[in-house]
Symmetry: C2
Subunit: 134 residues, 2 copies
C-alpha cells in the first residue's frame, strides 16, 4: 500500500545521483528500510529528501536540516522541546524572509541591467559601462 522507492527511482525523480542520496543517509537525513542489503525508501524519506533538496537550493546546510528533523522527531509532547523547536523554526523563518528580500533586491538589479541592455540595443547611445548607482 504505502509506496516504496528504490534509490535510483528517487534519484531519477529528483534529478540527483544515487551517491547524493547515500550521502544524505550518511549525514542522517534519511533512514530507509532495507530489503536485505538494498535500500527501500518510503514516503517519509521521500518527503525529507524533497525538503532537504529545497533547503540545499537555498544554501541551507544539510546539518541544519538534520538538526530540524531531529528536533521535530524528538519534540514529542515535552513543553521545553516544543518551545525550542518553535524558536528554531522562527529563526529559520526570519532567515528565509531575509533571503526573500535578497531575491527581490537581485531581481531589481537584474531588471535594471536588462533595461540598460535593451536601451543599448535600441539606440546606439553613448553609454558608460558602470555599476548601478547607489
Amino acid at each position: 500500500m504505502t509506496p516504496v522507492y528504490t534509490i535510483s527511482e528517487l534519484a531519477k525523480e529528483f534529478k540527483i545521483t544515487t551517491r547524493a542520496i547515500r550521502h544524505y543517509e550518511d549525514v542522517g537525513l534519511l533512514s530507509p528500510q532495507r530489503d536485505g542489503i538494498n535500500r527501500l525508501f518510503g514516503n517519509r524519506d521521500r518527503a525529507r529528501l524533497k525538503l532537504a533538496l529545497r533547503a540545499r537550493r537555498l544554501g541551507i546546510s544539510l546539518a541544519e536540516i538534520h538538526e530540524l528533523f531531529d528536533l521535530y522527531d524528538n519534540a514529542g509532547n515535552e513543553r521545553r522541546k516544543l518551545e525550542g523547536l518553535l524558536a528554531k523554526l522562527e529563526r529559520h523563518r526570519i532567515e528565509l524572509e531575509q533571503r526573500s528580500e535578497d531575491i527581490a533586491a537581485m531581481l531589481d538589479e537584474f531588471a535594471f541591467f536588462e533595461n540598460q541592455c535593451r536601451r543599448s540595443l535600441a539606440g546606439s547611445h553613448r553609454q558608460t559601462v558602470e555599476t548601478k548607482p547607489a
Copy 2:
C-alpha cells in the same frame, strides 16, 4: 568627492572579514585601486561587493557573479554580446524566481510545523511524530 573605503571599513560595514574581501579580489570580483600597496575601494567596488554578498547568501557561486560582471563590463554596444548578456540575465532571473518558490514552499512547511507545535503545546493530545503528508 567620490568616496573611497579601506578594506577594514568595508569589512566592518558588511560584517565580513578582510580576508573574504581579498578573496573576492583574488577571484576577480573586485579590483580596488592602490595607495602604494594599500587597497582603496570606490563605489563601484562597494556595489559589486554588496551584490556578491547577496548572491552568496542565495547560494550563487562567486564564479557565476564574476561571469555576469565580466559580461556586463564587456558588453559595450555590441549586439551579440548584449543579447548574450540578456540571455544570461534571464536565466538567472528564472533561477531566482524558482528559489523564491522554494522559499514560499519552505515557509509553508514551517508554518505547518509551527502549527503542530502549537497544537501540542495547547492541549496534550495524542500525537504521532510524522512528516507532513504529501
